[in-house]
C-alpha cells in the first residue's frame, strides 16, 4: 500500500519563478497491479511519481509505503530505499551512450557490489526475458526506440524491485511498439510487481490491464477510479 498524505511540491521556492507542481495530493494506491496517473502535461504526474519513487522529497506532506515513512529521509536512506524498492523507466530512456546494453543494465547494481558472474547472469536473463538478448554487446545508441525502451525496463529490474515506475513510456513509440510495451508491463504485473505509469496517451490509460486510474490536473486530483 502506497499512501500519500497532503503531498505538495514546489520548485524554486521563494524566488520569482516559484512553481507549485503538486498542490496537496492525498491518495492510497494498493500494491500489485498497473496503476496509471493520467493528465495533461504540466499536471504534476511526473513530479508525483518522482516523489513516490524517492527521487525527490515533497515540500510538504508525507508518503508511506506499507506503513513505513519514505518521504523526507536523509539522502543515504532515500537512495537505499529507492535501490531496493523502485525501478525507473524514464521518458527519454536515459541509457548511457558509449556503454553496451549489458553494461547499462548492470549499472544500478554497482554500488551494491554483487558477485560479478552472478550479476552478469541476472542481467542476461533479463535481456533474454524481454527479447533483446541479441543486443547485449551493442552500444546503447545503436538500439531502436522499442529496444531501448526494453533495455530501460531491464535496467530498472536489475535489482529486482517491487515497484516499477514508468514516466510517459509510450511518448516516443509508435502504436505497435506501444502495444508491445503494454504487454511487457502486463508481464511484470503477472510477475507480482506493482507498476506505476504516468501517461496522457489514451492507448495507455484506456488499456484493459489497468487496475487503477488516477487523474491529475494542475497538481490536484480530479477523481480516483
Amino acid at each position: 500500500m502506497i499512501e500519500l498524505e497532503e503531498v505538495r511540491k514546489a520548485f524554486n521556492q521563494g524566488r520569482p519563478n516559484e512553481l507549485w507542481a503538486v498542490r496537496g495530493v492525498s491518495l492510497t494506491l494498493p500494491l500489485k497491479g498497473l496503476h496509471v496517473l493520467k493528465g495533461p502535461s504540466g499536471s504534476g504526474k511526473t513530479t508525483l511519481l518522482a516523489m513516490i519513487g524517492c527521487l525527490s522529497r515533497p515540500t510538504a506532506g508525507r508518503i508511506r509505503l506499507d506503513g513505513r515513512l519514505i518521504s523526507n529521509l536523509p539522502e543515504r536512506f532515500m537512495t537505499e530505499v529507492r535501490r531496493a524498492t523502485f525501478g525507473f523507466v524514464f521518458q527519454q530512456f536515459n541509457l548511457i551512450r558509449g556503454l553496451s546494453v549489458l553494461d547499462n543494465v548492470m549499472l544500478p547494481a554497482y554500488p551494491l557490489a554483487p558477485n560479478a558472474g552472478e550479476l552478469r547472469r541476472r542481467a542476461l536473463a533479463l535481456l533474454d526475458r524481454f527479447g533483446i538478448a541479441a543486443r547485449a554487446g551493442h552500444k546503447a545508441e545503436w538500439l531502436s526506440g522499442g529496444e531501448a525502451q526494453r533495455a530501460a525496463v531491464c535496467r530498472a529490474m536489475i535489482n529486482d524491485p517491487r515497484i516499477l515506475i514508468a514516466d510517459e513510456p509510450t511518448a516516443n513509440l509508435d502504436s505497435q511498439r506501444s502495444q508491445e510495451l503494454l504487454a511487457v508491463l502486463g508481464e511484470l504485473v503477472a510477475m507480482g510487481k506493482t507498476v506505476l505509469v504516468s501517461s496522457h496517451d489514451p492507448l495507455v490509460f484506456g488499456s484493459a490491464g489497468v487496475s487503477h486510474l488516477v487523474e491529475l490536473h494542475d497538481g490536484r486530483l480530479v477523481g480516483a477510479a
Binding site: L49, I96, G98, P108, A113, P114, D167
Partner: protein, 377 residues
C-alpha cells in the same frame, strides 16, 4: 570488506570505461602529465646521483688550498709563501700546484693543463684525458701541438691516456712535466698557481686556514669542505635552468587543475544525473571520479619515473647533455651511478598523485550533489 573491495572494482570499471569513451582527451592528459613527471624525475635522479658521486670522489681533494689575490683577481703565488705557512701546527705536508687553462681555437675547447705532484710525465711527453683524445682524435704516440701566448708553437707526444672511466674528473686534463708547463706559460720558477696544505685532522683545518689568512693577508684559503659544498648546490632549485623547469612544471600542473576545475561538459553532467537517478549515491559518484584521477596520476607517475630511471641510469641522461654541455666542446662520457634517495621519490609521488586526484573532485562536486530527479525535469 570484500563487498567494499568489489564495489571499488565496479567503480573503477566504470571510471575506466568512462575514460575510454573519450580516449583522445585522456590520452593527451596522460601524455603531458607523464612527460612532466619524466622531466622532474630525471632532474631529481640525475642531480642526486651526481651530488652523491661528487661527495664521494672529491673526498680525496686537498684539505686546504691557498690562492693569492691581487686587486681582486686570482694571481700566481710565490713559493716562499710556502715556507711561511708550512710550519703552522697541524700541517703535515705542503706543495705548490701548477695548473692553468688553455683555449684551443682548433676545436674551440678549453683544456686544463696540470703538473701532477707525483709521477709527472717525462719532458716532452703528456698524458691526456680520454674526452680530449676523442675530440682531437689523438691516440698514444700522436703529437698535440698548441700555440703559446708568445706565438711559439709547442708540441708534446701523447705518452698515455688517463683511465677512461674517470672521465668525470679528467675529461679535459693534460698532464705534463713541470719544465714544459713553465716554458709554455712563461711562468718563472718559484711561482705557482696555488699552494696545497695537507692537514690530516679535519677539525684543525679551519684553524689552520685562519692562521694562513693571518700569515698571508693577500691569500684566499679554500677548504675541502667548501669544495664539497659547491657540488651540493649545483643544480639547486634556485639556479637558472632548473628554476625554469620547475616553474614550467608547476604551471603545467596548474593548467591541468584548471582544466579539471573548469566544469564538465553537458554530456558528463547528464551521465552523472543518470547515475544518481538509477541509484548511485553522491559518495559513489565522487569515489568513481576519484578513481579517474588516481588512475591517471598513478599511471603518469609510474610511467614517468620508470622512463626517467631508464633515461638517467641507462642512457646516461642523454637528454640533458646539451644543457650540461652549454657551449663547451668537451663533455665527459660517464654513466651516472644509480644512487636513489627514497625520500625524494616519495615526495615526488606525493606531489604527483595527491593534488591531481583531489583536483578531479572540484568540478564534479556540484554535479555529484544534484538531485536525482533532475533527469526527469
Amino acid at each position: 570488506m570484500r563487498t567494499w573491495l568489489r564495489r571499488q572494482r565496479y567503480l573503477l570499471d566504470y571510471s575506466l570505461g568512462a575514460m575510454a569513451r573519450r580516449p583522445g582527451k585522456h590520452l593527451a592528459l596522460l601524455l603531458v602529465y607523464t612527460l612532466i613527471v619524466f622531466l622532474l624525475a630525471s632532474v631529481m635522479l640525475f642531480t642526486h646521483s651526481l651530488q652523491r658521486e661528487a661527495r664521494l670522489v672529491l673526498a680525496e681533494s686537498p684539505e686546504l688550498i691557498v690562492q693569492r689575490m691581487v686587486a681582486g683577481r686570482h694571481d700566481l703565488i710565490p713559493g716562499e709563501h710556502l715556507e711561511r705557512i708550512a710550519g703552522i701546527r697541524g700541517v703535515q705536508g705542503s706543495y705548490g700546484r701548477l695548473w692553468g687553462y688553455f683555449y684551443d681555437p682548433a676545436v674551440r675547447a678549453n683544456y686544463t693543463l696540470l703538473v701532477p705532484p707525483n709521477d709527472a710525465p717525462a719532458a716532452g711527453e703528456i698524458r691526456i684525458g680520454t674526452a680530449l683524445a676523442r675530440t682531437r682524435g689523438l691516440a698514444i704516440g700522436d703529437y698535440l701541438s698548441l700555440r703559446a701566448a708568445s706565438g711559439e708553437p709547442f708540441a708534446w707526444r701523447v705518452a698515455g691516456l688517463i683511465a677512461s672511466d674517470s672521465e668525470l674528473v679528467s675529461a679535459d686534463l693534460v698532464l705534463m712535466a713541470e719544465e714544459d708547463f713553465r716554458r709554455f706559460f712563461a711562468i718563472a720558477p718559484g711561482l705557482y698557481t696555488d699552494l696545497v696544505l695537507n692537514v690530516r685532522n679535519p677539525r684543525e683545518v679551519q684553524t689552520v686556514a685562519e692562521k694562513v689568512s693571518l700569515a698571508l693577508p693577500d691569500s684566499r684559503p679554500i677548504l675541502r669542505e667548501e669544495i664539497l659544498r659547491t657540488y651540493d648546490a649545483v643544480f639547486g632549485w634556485r639556479q637558472g635552468v632548473v628554476f625554469v623547469l620547475l616553474a614550467g612544471a608547476i604551471l603545467a600542473f596548474a593548467i591541468f587543475a584548471w582544466d579539471r576545475a573548469s566544469g564538465l561538459s553537458g554530456e558528463e553532467r547528464r551521465e552523472i544525473g543518470i547515475l544518481k537517478a538509477i541509484g548511485w549515491e553522491t559518495g559513489d559518484v565522487l569515489r568513481m571520479k576519484l578513481w579517474e584521477g588516481a588512475v591517471l596520476s598513478l599511471t603518469a607517475f609510474l610511467l614517468g619515473y620508470l622512463l626517467a630511471y631508464g633515461h638517467v641510469f641507462y642512457a646516461s641522461a642523454a637528454l640533458f647533455e646539451p644543457v650540461l654541455k652549454g657551449w663547451a666542446v668537451l663533455y665527459p662520457a660517464f654513466n651516472p651511478v644509480p644512487f636513489v634517495d627514497g625520500l625524494q621519490v616519495a615526495t615526488l609521488f606525493f606531489f604527483t598523485v595527491f593534488p591531481y586526484t583531489a583536483a578531479t573532485l572540484v568540478p564534479i562536486w556540484s554535479a555529484a550533489i544534484t538531485d536525482p530527479d533532475s533527469v526527469m525535469r
